[in-house]
Amino acid sequence: MAYTDKSKLRVVYGDYTLGVHGKEFNYIFSYAQGGLESIVKNGYEWLYRCPKPTFWRALTDNDRGSKFHIKSGSWLSADMFIDCKDVQVFMDGEVQKIYAPDNNSYEGDVSADEIRVQYTYETINTPSTTVVVTYTVDITGKIQVNVHYNGVKGLPEFPVFGMRFVMPTLADKYLYKGLSGETYPDRKAGAIEGVYEVSDLSLTPYLVPQECGMRMDTEWVDIVRHTSLDNSRTDYSSQTLRIEKKDEPFAFSCLPYTASEIENALHHEELPPARRTILCIYGAVRGVGGIDSWGSNVEDEYCISAEEDIDYSFTIC
């Protein structure tokens, strides 16, 4: 098991974290932070904080009109604060004892074909529910992310369900294969499939900042950055991180702000300077509706029940 075969993953069983390393990739899975803490590719960091399940997209004017926030507002707090209850690590299919002093038994770096890290999150809303996020790293460095949401009777409808990645600096652009423009489940018939490049990450300038920038039915998205928070870095070349679909296409948005930041602004100029990249990969997205802005809900087929399980997956390449 000791790290001898350079073609395999090099696994470091730390006291707070699990290091998973390979050719030009270095991943840190944190027990303390409750999530994937670091994705380094070619020496370049892609994460600022651990990806967490997200349950909120900023309200639209139609949501406000239909009092969606009054019915489903508890998901906002669930989105902002979540507890990581459990972490499990599987190496080549076997569950590992990861905490000190058990990790003394590894006696050094370890090699593996596959590492699977499974985080179980518990929400703070009532009734509470859990989300299980499983990261599976293979020797090529691909991370397959499987996300399972446990539906619980009595929970109000979701605005979205997905995973939120916060990147240290603002992206230069992103490219994706999917649908043209800003699309939603109930507003994508006019979109054209293709590969698109978006270099302006700013919010769609709706009068009041609100949910925007959704891209449905995506095959892959490449985030391109060159800036870094690493004071020692002198390489300013463009770096790319790709997220691709596993089985089904996914929805995503890539904006400089979190939903709660957007929620707090009544005008665009009230938003802070754009300094991060917030990439959300969604497994379920609520429509925007359009019948009116003072009561009509989004049509039934475009609403998301939180009483039923949601499973989706994607791959970080």
């Binding site: 109930d186 507003r187 018939a189 709706y206 359009g290 019948i291 802005s293």
Partner: protein, 633 residues
């Protein structure tokens, strides 16, 4: 006659000494002027005027119109423009509520006993700002010695006019032209034009549109000299027969002339290749001091007008002296098309009409409802580009060029009359018409019929207009019924639209040719159309595109295939109404909406429902509009 400040209180006085509403045609003194589009008989009065702002009528400089009045303390203001955007009065946005909500208790005159006849309601109000405008001008050479009219294209909301100290007239109806004869008082040099504008008058009850509440001279002002003989009004009514290739052109003209004119009139009709289709003299006869003439001509091999091929013929009305010299030539481009209801389905030129429409307010983020030709061109192009084939001029008549552009582009127009009294009958969402204006109140009847008349008379020659709309969200009563009667009596073949019959079924048969709804849910439409529907169905407003919206379009589009009688609708709406201002914190230009000017109460961001942003950039949802509207174009 002297002006009376109490006219602003009185719903029965709304036009004094105005020239009767008439066709919006252009006129030239000869073909050379026409071909070079030179309007040497028109003198623009746009530009800098002297201006004085007062908080109310009591404190206004009442004598400012007198020639010896010392206006040295007056400010300067640009015309056209809104007084609020010039910084004099608070910018304010509110939707259905009257702008005095929570500040002044008001009920429309005669709507309830306590309101009485309204005397003092506006003229003695503590807050009802007045703009006193002065323009000094010399008459352009070409205008001297001729009959001269003063032509306001839009003044909000009540206006008194004096020239050289003499009272000229009074006008309301903010969104249609107001025209006065200056001939008796005008001089070649040193004319003093004085215009006193009141922010609110009794018409405030009729102009409760969902928009920023502005006042002032916000559209062009000009002097218009008339040739010795002048087509005052004309109605070119092209009728297309069932076969879509033959028809009739009915020509009606009314001519005014200075004394002793021996003249004749002629109509010439040319196709787009300048081939003469028709050339005929029109016999004129004396009538009430003017000359009128009517002829009808059969036309063959007609190319019909529609959205796909907006074919327009060129008509010319010529007024000639006995020796054949042209006195005046009036060009107008007209199309042959037929709108009708057959078997409860609206047909255009015999085919089922599908309305892929949008409501459009006139808006520019820098200048408000004072918009320029470039804004209109941009809007037409945007509509054409995105398969939009119809526009509702919500909720007032637009600037004149807009209708010409719609004729040209084949955009079907629902021409709405300047009327909305939403605040008088809907309270906290509930229908509560106890003090509805105009309702069935006789004292309010003439003013609303006059608005219908002005709308009709001004725009009747526009091929693009398929519908007259009685107004928006004003409930229903005998007065609105009288507006419908007015339009019906014109027998111009167009349909009449009003949504209010939904609330008041007793007027169902007398105020609208169509079943019109706003924001009906798809299942409600299905319900109506599945249960012995009486009329073809359209949505005068639907798909409320506030912020990030326009989802679920499919559910409406499906109805087009499902029900022959479902004929589409007008998206709410075209452009976000927001105002570009300098942010006091960052110094950057930012967009502001209701409540951002300390205006309370407000409906805040509810003014932003466009399919384009306030700067006319397309919202992301536009690709959806283009797609669905493209399916049924």
């Amino acid at each position: 006659m002297n002006a009376d400040i109490r006219w602003i209180d009185n719903p029965e006085i709304f036009r004094v000494n105005q020239i009767a509403a008439h066709s919006d045609h252009d006129y030239f003194t000869n073909y050379e002027a026409l071909n070079s589009n030179s309007h040497n008989l028109i003198q623009s009065l746009n530009g800098q005027w002297k201006f004085c702002f007062s908080r109310n009528a009591m404190s206004r400089p009442a004598d400012f119109y007198k020639e010896d009045y010392d206006t040295s303390y007056f400010d300067k203001i640009m015309v056209p423009g809104h007084i609020e955007l010039a910084g004099y009065d608070q910018i304010r946005y509110i939707n259905t509520l009257y702008p005095w909500e929570g500040k002044t208790y008001r009920r429309g005159a005669y709507s309830i006993e306590s309101a009485g006849d309204g005397t003092g309601m506006f003229s003695e109000a503590e807050y009802n700002p007045v703009g006193s405008y002065i323009k000094k001008f010399d008459l352009d050479k070409e205008l001297c010695g001729k009959r001269v009219r003063l032509f306001f294209e839009g003044v909000e909301q009540a206006m008194y006019v004096w020239l050289n100290g003499e009272f000229i007239g009074y006008a309301e109806d903010s969104f249609t032209p107001s025209e006065f004869d200056l001939t008796p008082y005008i001089r070649e040099k040193d004319n003093v034009l004085a215009v006193e504008i009141h922010k609110m008058c009794s018409a405030a009850f009729l102009e409760d549109q969902d928009f920023f509440r502005f006042f002032g001279i916000f559209r062009n002002v000009s002097l218009r000299a008339l040739p010795e003989a002048h087509v005052e009004d004309m109605w070119l009514n092209p009728v297309l027969n069932e076969d879509n290739v033959s028809g009739t052109l009915n020509t009606n003209i009314r001519v005014s002339a200075t004394e002793n004119q021996d003249m004749c009139a002629r109509i010439i009709l040319k196709n787009v290749d300048d081939q003469v289709i028709l050339e005929r003299n029109i016999e004129l006869e004396d009538k009430d001091g003017d000359f009128v003439g009517s002829i009808s001509d059969d036309i063959k091999d007609i190319k019909k007008w529609d959205n796909h091929t907006p074919y327009l013929y060129k008509a010319y009305i010529e007024l000639l002296k006995a020796d054949g010299e042209i006195i005046e030539v009036v060009p107008y481009r007209i199309g042959f098309r037929k709108i009708e209801i057959k078997n409860k389905v609206m047909l255009l030129n015999g085919e089922r009409l599908i309305i892929n429409g949008v409501n459009r307010h006139e808006w520019n983020p820098k200048t408000g409802r004072c918009i320029g030709l470039e804004d209109m061109v941009s809007d037409i192009n945007c509509m054409t580009r995105n398969n939009i084939n119809a526009v509702r001029t919500c909720h007032y008549p637009d600037q004149i060029p807009w209708y010409y552009m719609c004729d040209d582009a084949g955009i079907y127009v629902m021409a709405e009359t300047n009327l909305e009294s939403h605040g008088s009958w809907q309270k906290l969402g509930a229908v509560e018409p106890s003090v509805n204006i105009p309702g069935s109140i006789s004292q309010w009847r003439e003013v609303v019929v006059d608005r219908a008349r002005t709308n009709y008379e001004t725009f009747k020659n526009h091929t693009s207009i398929l519908f007259w709309s009685l107004g928006n969200e004003s409930y229903a009563g005998d007065d609105i019924k009288a507006m419908n009667t007015y339009f019906k009596e014109r027998q111009d073949g167009r349909l009449v639209h009003y949504e209010g019959s939904f609330y008041t079924r007793q007027y169902e048969d007398t105020i609208s040719d169509v079943e019109s709804r706003m924001y009906a849910k798809p299942y409600e439409i299905r319900e109506y159309l599945s249960n012995h529907p009486k009329k073809p169905y359209l949505l005068c407003e639907y798909m409320h595109d506030m912020g990030n919206s326009l989802g679920g379009f499919d559910s409406y589009i499906k109805l087009i295939d499902e029900f022959e009688m479902y004929q589409g609708g007008f998206i709410w709406d075209f452009i976000d109404q927001a105002i570009l201002v300098k942010d006091h914190v960052t110094g950057k230009e930012v967009l502001r909406y209701g409540g951002d000017f300390d205006d309370r109460p407000s409906d805040y961001e509810f003014s932003g429902n466009g399919i384009v942003f306030a700067d006319r950039k397309e919202k992301p949802a536009m690709q959806e509009v283009r797609y669905y509207y493209g399916l049924y174009r």
